[in-house]
């Protein structure tokens, strides 16, 4: 395969809608409350914790990881069919599709954590991974 055919393949990627599999959680506590995260990044607003699925993990594994990384909660997934639907389309860079890249471009040193000020130490996952190759939708395979 030549560099020209690689370039043609990239051109095709740019012209097709890319599917971004996302895994999220509805986390409930014993008082019947749900956990929500407010994220200014990408104008998310108040959302259930969620994020892109790495190509080495299942949707369920990604959900548990996102619970720790995005909202700082340890959870137990319940045996119930997850809710899936088609979300919104948006324009962004191809690199955004790599969950690791998305993680690397934002880092809030301080957040309000369930009523208390919390200082982040360092975005550990972002530093070594910012230059990892992206994962295209065709390479991701089944994600449920």
């Amino acid at each position: 395969m030549s560099i020209q055919s690689v370039a043609r393949g990239l051109g095709r990627l740019a012209s097709e809608t890319q599917i971004r599999p996302v895994s999220g959680l509805i986390i409930v506590d014993g008082r019947g409350r749900v956990a929500m995260a407010y994220q200014e990044y990408a104008n998310q607003g108040w959302c259930f914790p969620k994020g892109g699925i790495d190509h080495t993990e299942t949707s369920a594994e990604a959900a548990v990881r996102e619970a720790r990384e995005e909202i700082g909660l340890e959870v137990e997934l319940l045996a119930m069919e997850p809710l899936s639907f088609t979300g919104r389309a948006f324009h962004d860079s191809l690199g955004f599709g790599s969950p690791r890249v998305a993680r690397s471009v934002i880092h809030k040193p301080v957040c309000r954590y369930f009523g208390e000020r919390h200082e982040e130490r360092v975005n550990r996952r972002a530093i070594p991974s910012a230059r990892e190759p992206m994962t295209s939708s065709s390479e991701l395979g089944p994600w449920s």
Binding site: I26, K50, A63
Partner: protein, 108 residues
């Protein structure tokens, strides 16, 4: 995809850097899992969130039903969509029965 040749690491990084900013149309395909709270682990956070809070699900349903998309700041469309699904409150009740109670205050 089989390339038929093995690019060197600098070549891979060069292609990656050249394409990561290429604009494409993304379509989100979210899957939401139901989970029971076990414990707080704020030290595991990686800095993507501005604020974390417990929210009364009835408040979400009420606001969504009134077409109010704020909580009080903007609420993500997925939240409204999930809250509008039939059986949402039953899911919450089921999960709550097996979850730990957090001692942290909620927004309401």
């Amino acid at each position: 995809m089989e390339l038929g040749f093995k690019p060197s690491e600098p070549e891979v990084l060069e292609v990656f850097d050249a394409t990561r900013s290429m604009l494409v149309t993304w379509l989100q395909s979210p899957t939401y899992h139901l989970a029971a709270f076990r414990s707080h682990v704020p030290h595991e956070m990686t800095g993507e969130t501005d604020e974390a809070a417990w929210v009364n699900p009835l408040e979400i349903i009420k606001r969504a039903g009134e077409g109010v998309m704020t909580l009080p700041r903007k609420m993500h469309g997925d939240v409204v969509r999930v809250a509008a699904m039939s059986g949402f409150m039953k899911m919450i009740e089921m999960a709550s029965a097996s979850a730990q109670s957090s001692d942290r205050p909620g927004l309401w």
